[in-house]
């Protein structure tokens, strides 16, 4: 009996080694990514969330900032031990309709206002410090930010849909460089920046992702059309391995794209119960194994633990 087991074990080892050779370790890691729902954020001062469009998380400061667009306010929570607790309301006349939100390494809050289409800079305590005014940027009259991200060095990456470009600004708003949108695109919906400074933009109608390496002058397609897997890619973010998380706004799910542009899987689904999404907005990762999703039409922020 023991003798019979030996060839079987050898065969299985061979199969395993073959798989290891042909499938890089990361692919296995990607395939193993599971999203375990934690307690969502529902309630806040003066009623529950209403059409929350944005969410940002700072692992450094253990805080979550939510843009509660329907109530024209920001909410700040402490995030520790997989739980969001405490709540501070930030309501500013300078930000009448907050959409996307970001936190930099100093704890400053940046928020895109939908009505004015300006990026506001707030002190960590939530006081208004001013709007981000790009200094020295070419063609400043044709600048409409649709989305933005704070990069690894606190640089501000802006998706400028009127200028058809991604504008990179220093932390002080000084123009650094710009990368034009690729030709023949549909409509750019969001951008993400990974730790290496690689910029990724998503074309919603064509369901294509484009990438520009750090300091590259142009974008190249990262993927072909993803329509087979996704209805409408609206929001994107990346993790430290360069894996891109794409939210399917109309399909209510998250799809995973490998660093090389390969489709790696679809997670979650459309619905109303905990763990399901209904027209998700901004998504973000905290670098500490959590994915946060502004579950807009479910009026909540969903928090998932990334389990491998």
């Amino acid at each position: 009996m023991k003798g019979k087991l030996k060839p079987a074990r050898a065969f299985l080892t061979l199969v395993f080694l073959t798989l290891l050779v042909f499938f890089p370790g990361r692919s296995f890691a990607l395939m193993r990514i599971k999203l375990q729902p934690l307690t969502p954020v529902y309630a806040a001062h003066n009623g529950g969330l209403l059409a929350p469009e944005g969410v940002a998380v700072s692992a450094k400061f253990h805080e979550i900032v939510i843009s509660d667009a329907g109530h024209a306010r920001l909410l700040k929570y402490t995030f520790a031990d997989d739980k969001a607790t405490g709540c501070t309301e930030i309501k500013l006349p300078q930000v009448p309709y907050p959409l996307k939100v970001q936190v930099n390494s100093k704890g400053e809050i940046f928020v895109l206002d939908g009505r004015q289409r300006k990026i506001a800079r707030l002190a960590p305590a939530g006081t208004f410090e001013g709007y981000v005014e790009p200094a020295g940027m070419p063609d400043p009259d044709n600048f409409v930010p649709k989305s933005f991200r704070i990069g690894p060095n606190d640089d501000i990456y802006v998706l400028d849909i009127m200028g058809a470009r991604v504008v990179v600004l220093g932390p002080d708003g000084k123009f650094i460089r710009q990368i034009p949108f690729p030709d023949g695109t549909g409509f750019m919906t969001d951008l993400a920046v990974d730790e290496s400074g690689r910029i990724i933009v998503s074309d919603g109608p064509k369901a294509v992702l484009y990438a520009a390496q750090a300091n590259a002058a142009s974008f190249t397609p990262l993927t072909g059309s993803l329509h087979e897997y996704i209805d409408f890619p609206a929001n994107i973010t990346t993790d430290s391995n360069g894996i891109v998380y794409v939210s399917d706004q109309n399909g209510g799910s998250i799809i995973l794209i490998g660093k090389d542009g390969s489709f790696q899987g679809r997670r979650l689904g459309l619905g109303w119960n905990k763990g399901l999404l209904y027209f998700p907005g901004q998504i973000c990762l905290d670098g500490d194994g959590h994915l946060l999703i502004a579950d807009r039409e479910n009026n909540r922020i969903q928090i998932f633990k990334i389990v491998e």
Binding site: V144, I161, W272, N273, N298, R300
Partner: protein, 450 residues
């Protein structure tokens, strides 16, 4: 010259002889084959006429298909049995493309689906016809069998384009085009410039001396005729009708005369300032309006067949970006009437709104701008009111809905129409999210779940 003629003549005769010998060889081979199958003389066609005697009259038509003329019915039909209709030995595509392999160009930019899919008999009679190319009908009539709207338009427009009357094939290649989209035999403007001398003083004057020789003529002119002089599309942008090109473009003496004076919506705001101001004052602007193309994403700046100078019928236009949503409606078991009728604006404001999905606020003076004294609605009331503007269920009986009815699945949601229905359709009846209906109801009424 004599030498040249002789030098060509001899090889030509030799080639013909060889071809003739080859043909004779093939016929002999076929006859030998026929003999091995013990076929009667004429079994490949003439024998068929003994039963299909009505076919004799067909053979008197002016244009007879070569295999028919040669009495080779078995060229297309299997005399004993077949998996295809009319005892055809293969699909129509397979049969026709055997002899006409390049009828749809290999590198076609556009193809006529009828031809590409092999439905050749929709236009051609495979046996014989009194029309050239064995067409079922003569001239444009064959095209108008399907393109009925075009027939109506072409016959009723005030200003006609004569090549259309002469024949669609003046501009279109009926099977496929390797040159252009819309089956055009050449790209626009090359196609148009084949007849119209763009540098003529009259044409230059009509275009205010702007250099339009490289412009796409069909952005302004309707090649199928129009009720507007100059065969412009029926709806003309007033500055263009008044030939005030420099309202938007730089002057014709400028080094860049076709360049527009501002980018995106800012150009349109020069005249439509109030409209743009209203649009930009809302919480949510339709983002493409703020892009580089601005209003021109959806509107034509010169002229259009569509009302409001839309670039295409609304459903087609919205579907360019929201293809998944339009496709969902197309495959939905129950169709939502406004979408079916192409009226996306029945529920959405295409410019801006204070609500998500750019939803219109019903019963307000301006569709989505709350009327004086009317406050911005909560989500549930908004949806219930909007749906209620067509569906009057609330007037008699309804499931409890509205701002006070909490959705058991999610305490931050209120029960409203979209809790159960997806307005752009689902795979289920009545646009329900779940089916059978018990699955839908037990989403909330979990106590009844079995």
């Amino acid at each position: 010259m004599r030498f040249f003629t002789r030098s060509l003549f001899v090889p030509l005769i030799m080639a013909l002889c060889l071809a003739g010998l080859g043909a004779v060889g093939l016929i002999r081979a076929a006859r030998a084959d026929d003999a091995s199958y013990l076929l009667k003389p004429g079994a490949r066609g003439k024998v068929c006429l003994t039963c299909h005697d009505d076919f004799a009259a067909k053979l008197k038509d002016a244009y007879v298909h070569t295999p028919v003329k040669d009495g080779d019915c078995t060229g297309c039909h299997s005399p004993h049995a077949s998996s295809h209709g009319k005892l055809l030995s293969a699909s129509t595509r397979g049969i026709c493309f055997t002899c006409h392999p390049d009828i749809v160009p290999q590198n076609a930019v556009s193809t006529h689906p009828v031809a590409a899919e092999g439905h050749c008999v929709k236009c051609h009679d495979p046996h014989a016809s009194n029309n050239p190319f064995h067409l079922l009908k003569s001239g444009n009539e064959v095209c108008f069998q399907c393109h009925k709207n075009m027939e109506k338009r072409v016959s009723t427009v005030k200003f006609k384009h004569w090549p259309v009357e002469k024949g669609c094939t003046n501009c279109h290649s009926p099977h496929g085009s390797a040159a252009s989209d819309y089956l055009l035999v050449k790209k626009v403007p090359d196609l148009c410039l084949g007849c119209h001398k763009i540098d003529s003083p009259e044409i230059a004057k009509q275009h205010n001396n702007y250099p339009v020789q490289n412009a796409r003529c069909t952005t302004c002119h309707n090649p199928h005729g129009s009720n507007t002089a100059g065969i412009l599309y029926d709806n003309v942008h007033p500055p263009m009708a008044a030939r005030m090109c420099d309202q938007c473009h730089e002057g014709n003496a400028s080094p860049t005369p076709l360049k527009v004076k501002a980018q995106g919506y800012k150009l349109c705001a020069k005249c439509h300032a109030d409209k743009i101001k209203d649009i930009l004052a809302k919480n949510r602007v339709h983002w493409p309006l703020l892009s580089k193309k601005g209003c021109l994403n959806c509107h034509s700046p010169h002229a259009s067949v569509q009302k409001d100078l839309l670039r295409a019928p609304m459903i087609e236009l919205c579907g360019k970006c929201h293809s998944d949503t339009i496709a969902r409606q197309a495959r939905s078991k129950t169709k939502h009437k406004p979408i079916e009728e192409g009226k996306c604006t029945a529920c959405h404001d295409p410019h801006s709104s204070n609500y998500v999905f750019l939803i219109n606020q019903p019963a307000a003076g301006n569709a989505n701008q709350p009327a004086a004294g009317k406050k911005v609605l909560d989500q549930a009331t908004l949806i219930v009111d909007l749906c209620g503007s067509c569906h009057n269920y609330q007037m008699h009986s309804t499931h409890p809905v509205g701002a006070k009815v909490v959705d058991p699945r999610n305490k931050n949601l209120r029960v409203q129409c979209l809790s159960c229905h997806r307005v752009h359709g689902t795979d289920n009846k009545d646009m329900l999210h779940f089916w059978p209906i018990t699955d839908m109801c037990t989403q909330c009424h979990t106590e009844y779940k079995r």
